[in-house]
Symmetry: C2
Subunit: 314 residues, 2 copies
Amino acid sequence: MKKYGFGVDIGGTTCKIGLFETTGQIIDKWEIPTNTAEEGKNILSDVAASLKAKMTEEGIKKDEVEGIGVGIPGPVRGGGSVSVCVNLGWKNVHVPKELEEMMDGIMVRAGNDANVAALGEMWQGGGKGYENVVMVTLGTGVGGGIIVGEKIVAGSNGAGGEIGHLTVNPHDTIACNCGRKGCLEQYASATGITRLAKERLAKEHETSSLDTAEEISAKAVFDAYKEGDKIAAEIVEKFAGILGKALSNIACVVDPEIFVIGGGVSKAGDVLIDAVKKYYVEAAFPSCKDTRFALASLGNDAGMYGCVKLILGE
Amino acid sequence: MKKYGFGVDIGGTTCKIGLFETTGQIIDKWEIPTNTAEEGKNILSDVAASLKAKMTEEGIKKDEVEGIGVGIPGPVRGGGSVSVCVNLGWKNVHVPKELEEMMDGIMVRAGNDANVAALGEMWQGGGKGYENVVMVTLGTGVGGGIIVGEKIVAGSNGAGGEIGHLTVNPHDTIACNCGRKGCLEQYASATGITRLAKERLAKEHETSSLDTAEEISAKAVFDAYKEGDKIAAEIVEKFAGILGKALSNIACVVDPEIFVIGGGVSKAGDVLIDAVKKYYVEAAFPSCKDTRFALASLGNDAGMYGCVKLILGE
C-alpha cells in the first residue's frame, strides 16, 4: 500500500478535498468551487489542478499516491461512469477514465456521495470496527448507504440505500419530491419533523414552548423535547416510531451489525438514538433486536474519508 | 477449477445430494434420510458415507472434487458454524471443520438453506445471467435470499433476506409465527393467501367458484382467478398489492436487477408475476421501475445448485 490517498467529495457548490495517509489519518483538507457552467466540463480539470498543486506543495510524488476516490452527487455505475448528474450538469462522464488521464495514470475510483459517506463512517467514523453497516442521513431529506462486507451496495440502478424512499404511509395525501406518497423522508427528515410538528401544533394541545418558538424546526423540536416539553415529546415519539419501524424492515433485508445515524437532525445527539432504538427494538425481528446504534462522527468529512476507502479496495 | 462438486441440502427429513460438474451441469442426484436422533450427531457422518460411496461408484478421486457445499435449515455464521439448528437438533456444529475431516480434507462450505437456494437460482435458475438477485420463496411461509455481486447477504445475525418478516400491516391483530404482527408472510404465503381468501369469502359477495371448492387454498384461488372468477381476482389483487409494495421497499434498500419468485405458490405461473409486477411498478422508486421479474426454475433442486456455487467462491 502506498503512503497517500486523496478523497474528493464533489458537491453542487464546492468540492471538498482531503489528503490522507492510507492508514486513515487526514493530513490536510480544503475546498475548491464547483464550476457547473458548460455542463460542468471544467470540474474534473479543476480538481486535477488542485491535486497537482497540493502534491507539488507537499513534495508528494506520483508513485507515493495509492489513488484518488471521488464522490458524485448522483447515480454512479459500477465502473465509475455517470450517465446523468443534474447537480453537476454532467452527461456521460467516465470519472475514472477522464481523471486518471489528467493525473498521469494515478488510479481513480468513483461512487455516489451518500454511499461513500456511509463507507467513510464505517471506516473511520461511527461504524468503525464493523463491516456491515447501514448509514442513515437525516438532513433536508433522508439519505442512506448500505455497506455489506466493507463494500457499498450501489444497486443495479444506483438506488441501493435509497432508504428515504421506503414507503412508510401508503395513505399519505401529500407527495414526496420523488413523486410518490408516504416516503420515510416525508417524516424523518428535518423537513418531515417540521411538518409533523406543525401538524401537531395545529391540533388542540396543552401549552408548549413550541407555541412561542421563533421558528418551528427539527432543532426547535428536539430542544423543547430535551427541556421536557410534552408536545415536543409527542412529535419526537411519532418521528422515532416511524424511523424505528422502517429500520426494523431494513434489518429483515440486510441485517447490519450497526445503524449509524448522521445528518443535521442527528445533532440532537443521544436522545435521538434512544428514541429511535426504543421503537426499533419493539418492531424488530427477534434475532435482530440487539443491532447496535451509533451517531455518525465525521460530519461533512465522511464523504472524503469514504472516497479514500474506495481506492483501498473498499 | 476441478471437475466435480457436491451440493448437500440438509432438510429436517431428508438430505438432498447432487453430484455436479463445476460448470453447473448436474450429473446425479439422490436423497438420504436425515437422522435427527441424538442431537443429529450422525447427520454429517451419514452424508460423508453417502458421498464416499458415490465417489467409489463413479470412480471419482478426491483430487477431482473442488468441494462440498452444504445447506442448513437454520442460521449459519460466516465461517460455516451453526450455534443452534432446531430442525436438526444441532448445537455448536462447525460444519466445514467436521465434514472436511470426515472427507479427508475436501473443502467444505456451508450456508443457510434459503440463501443457498437464492444463490442456486442466480447461478443456474430464474436469475441466471444476473449478479444482484432477490429471491422470494412463497411456500407455507415466505422466505428469501439476497444476492449482491454474486454473494449471499447472510446478515450479522443470519437474518439477511428474512423478507417474510417485513412488517406490511402494523394494524394486524393476528400474530405471526415470529411473535410479531402484520408480517409479509401472513399475507403472501400459501397460508396467508388462504387466510385472505377465507376473510373475503366470509364477507358479502357475488357467487364465486370458491364457494363450492373442496378446500380453500392458494392453488384454488389462483385456479379460480385463471377461470375469470371475480372474487378470486379480488383476493389475488390484494395479495399482489401487498407483495408488490413490499418488493418496492426492498428495491430501495438493495436495488436488485431481478426478483426471482419461487416456492409452491409460484406454480400459479406468469399470472402471479404479472399481478405482483403491476403493483411493484406502481409503488417503485422511479429509477427501479424496470427491475425484472422471473419465476424460479430449479424447484427443490435450487439448494443443491446453490451449495455447489458456494464452493466456487460464490
